[in-house]
Amino acid sequence: MIEVKDLVKKYGGTTAVDHLSFTVAPGRITGFLGPNGAGKSTTMRLILGLDRPSGGTALIDGRLYHDLRDPLRHVGALLEAKAVHGGRTAFNHLLYLAQTQGVPKRRVSEVLDLVGLGAVARKRTKGFSLGMGQRLGIAAALLADPKILILDEPVNGLDPEGVVWIRELLKALAADGRTIFVSSHLMNEMAVTADHLIVIGRGQLQADMPVAQFIAQFSDSAVLVRTPQTAEFRAAAEQRGWSVTAAAEDGMLIVTNSTAPLIGELAAERGLVLHELTPQRASLEEAYMELTRESGEFTHHPSPPPPSPAPSSADALASGGLDGR
């Protein structure tokens, strides 16, 4: 169980983590999502006691990381940045960590075999590929058999096989009752891995809910309607309790919480002319991008949209869908 309460981290004038509060429960995989620079790594470093918070607390099973006895037996962590001396062998890197925790030497060989690095255990790590480095980091996290795992972008640099391996590993660990807190900037990866999502942007909490709820809430189905009688259509649709948003182009409307057949029937009933009636479904990725667009640190600000041609229906839809929530 990880409890983050009102956590703040300021670097000079910038606020990397801004009054963040959430709980990571055991027995499931909690995905920690946000664009680059959203504060994911910083939050993890604060939980792990590597950085000092400017305010608030992060507790692990009710205690500060600093106060854990043999911390690696409680929490295993993989950090995004490399944390290995390249001149040391994989075995010796894990050995010194094991020694600090009183973990026996043979466990080192065990975890190296587990992550598939058994053959290169005695090789110095400077020759390791990005993927091998990630595997070594995961080995270090699993070394003392912790109940909580905090993994910052674990699939970075892994080949597709490695990605599937991580996914299966995390699921097995969560099924075993462990707390898994894993960050990513890829929504699609999290959608297939995580059970619960915590989304942050600019260091602030954007969403904290089960994946299923996130999908239901943020990938609202919507229908694009083009009609010359916008005013009449809007009135009729709103009467039915549907939400109608004007799209960028004249005569184009986005209708949410309805369906194309219902809209078609309504138009027939009222004798309204429809030029277009297109059901849409935003992908989860689009919903997530929309949710965090305003908050990304390195957001590229698009120039104002040109008056013509028609804006892509996905853009129109995404804004419509989210405004309606």
């Binding site: 590597l50 990381y65 490399k82 010796n92 890197h93 925790q101 097995a172």
Partner: protein
């Protein structure tokens, strides 16, 4: 699933949570770190070769050129033969210990390994203490060995010219070689921890040892004497001298005490910053 079986098999909890000495574990881990990188071996091998070599070279040249030597040079040797034998080896050999000391701490930052270390031992000051103890003791042992080997080689080389006896009072000079190197190693380790940058810290300590320590003696007057005496490495270096030079205001042991005090003060600063700074 094959992958999960290994994970689920718990490690044997040897001494877990039984009040097993954590500091002992940290000492063991720091020893593992030290012996598992090549820089340790290269630096110590350099010391083991260089120190005795210069303890041989300078006495050899002195003997060979005795007739051309100035009366002052001759007098210096007669006055303090042990110091004359030890100083060249010490002066050159100290560089490898200074570099190694910096690497032991600063390389953790340059490689990012410090994060692994601090996750394993979040009590940062204890980690620094364990690192300091292990490194100090290692350099002390190796330093004493090379000092005595260097001394005996130098004494052997001078045999045709004069007999150097190792009286009980003179042991301080020879043993001082190892003491100085150990303290210097710790001083460099602390500097590396403060600067957190290998190249920067090495530049700093080499400049201190080779440039500042000598240059400072050119400052005239009383202030110059104070600065010269209390410069940490000059103060420590006095431990190998029989008689301190005129511009040195302390006894050899007092000088070593000043060096130790500098190191202790910087250690406390490093420990304080280690806790305060983000890793």
């Amino acid at each position: 699933m094959a992958a999960s079986q290994g994970v689920l098999a718990p490690p044997v909890a040897d001494g877990a949570g039984t009040g097993h000495s954590h500091f002992g574990r940290l000492l063991l881990a720091e020893w593992t770190k030290l012996r598992s990188v090549r820089s340790t071996y290269w630096s110590l091998i350099a010391l083991i070769i260089v120190f005795p070599f210069f303890c041989w070279l300078f006495p050899y040249l002195t003997v060979a050129n005795w007739k051309q030597a100035t009366p002052t040079q001759q007098a210096n040797l007669m006055l303090d033969p042990i110091g004359q034998v030890m100083a060249p080896g010490q002066y050159i050999g100290q560089l490898s210990i200074a570099v190694l000391g910096v690497m032991v701490s600063a390389s953790e930052y340059s490689t990012g390994m410090i994060r692994s270390t601090l996750l394993a031992s979040p009590h940062r000051v204890r980690m620094l203490a364990a690192k300091s103890v292990v490194f100090f003791l290692l350099v002390l042992v190796i330093g004493e060995v090379v000092s005595f080997v260097g001394f005996f080689i130098g004494r052997q080389t001078l045999k045709g010219l004069l007999t150097v006896n190792l009286n009980s009072g003179d042991i301080r000079q020879v043993a001082g070689g190892g003491l100085y190197l150990a303290m210097l190693g710790l001083f460099a380790l602390v500097l590396g921890s403060l600067i957190r940058h290998v190249a920067g810290a090495i530049t700093g300590i080499v400049a201190l040892l080779l440039v500042v320590s000598g240059l400072i003696s050119l400052i005239p007057g009383k202030a110059g004497k104070y600065l010269y005496t209390y410069e940490p490495t000059n103060a420590g270096f006095a431990i190998i001298a029989k008689h301190v030079p005129d511009n040195f205001l302390l006894s050899p042991w007092e000088g070593y005490g000043v060096f130790a005090a500098w190191t202790a003060a910087l250690w406390i600063l490093a420990a304080w910053l280690l806790v305060r700074r983000d890793a």
